[in-house]
Amino acid sequence: MNLRVLLLCTGLVVTHLLLHVALGLGKVAPDLAVVALLIASRALGSAGGAATGFVLGLLEDAFSVVSFGANVFAMSVVGAVAARTRELFVGDSIPFLAVFLVAGKWGRDVLVWLVWDTGSRPPFNDFALLESPLLAVYAAAAGLLARLVFARGPLSR
């Protein structure tokens, strides 16, 4: 992982924590933690991606009373899978990154839903087919903006 990617991902995580924990904005703020994880995973490899996801998921689960560990599991799996995309796709063009971020965020939400406490999770159709895709597009847009503003040029350089 080069310094630009490290700084970008650290900045995204810190901003995510500020927006979600310090300001308590909830879904009004985009999920920048998963954006940081997806970008970092492609630079770290699957073990590094899974470990990063584990740590970020643990931070998110610090306030989860009912389904503790759901974010840890989802982020670990997404980190590992995102890293494997390195072997299939090289480069980080804007269209690829957009699809990658949307798919990663949506996949994470679906994984969280799968391991969520069955009594408290929302209906699958409402969550996975309507709410989550919208949140995924929002997160991807925020991620692309951050990428364009703070880390111009190829990330792999």
Binding site: A47, E60, F63, V65, E87, P123
Partner: protein, 288 residues
Amino acid sequence: MAVQPREGGEGRKRDFLLTAGVILGSLIVLNLPPGSQRSIRLFLRETVLSPLLEINGAITRMRERALDFNVLRAQMDSVTALVASGRTLAEENRQLREALGLLERERHRVRAATVMRTGTPGAESVFLLDAGSGDGVRPFNAVATEAGLLGQVQEVFADHSVAFDWSHRDFRASAMTSDGRTHGLVEAVRGGFREQDRLILRGTAYLADLGPGEELLTSGRGGTFPRGIRIGWVAEPAEASEGWSRSYYVDPAVHPGAATHALVYVEGADTLAAGPDSVAGPGRVVPR
């Protein structure tokens, strides 16, 4: 886009094993016993996330202080009028209870606390209070705002506690109409989106027909919630079990996302003297 050259077999194997180990670890975390999960959550909140929670608390307190002075003044005037009219009422009530040989009502001490919410996934119905065991807060204490019942304390630590609001799936409160004639159990029902969550009153007598706008209060049955805290108002009939009971949707009195300040009903204050002009506030006593 092109296919990247593959890593060496040894490296791939090591990477795979490490990845599998991390994912296995995440599954272990998911299935840890509640006590261990609680310890991990506490550790994270008191270390890495502590500065962020401090900021959250400071912002919430600033929002409280930014309330319109005229609104506060109006609330203060209403409370003053209520207390003034209650002075004689309390004395009459005491005399009547004495004449009937009834025991004095149990009283609750309330502790004012700041409500802090985080926007992380999985914490939608959960909030933090800046009052803990050092302030007398115990698990299952009721949490209310000036508008009505907000929720219930779940986990208590030395200087803070974790509570859930009425939109949590485990929330239950025994309820009654303000005239005390109809009783039932209130619980949360999920909407398509979290913003559509509301309450439902179940188990009311089939012949007790409640109309829209009927006020519901906690009945005090079961001893968890003190009697007389407003829960909400009946909105519309939900379902009926023919000949047995009816259910009603309830518009909640408190919108959890808007709460910044709350009162925790800490305990029966049998050692604290309470005058008839007691009002809610830090360490004050209110009748149950």
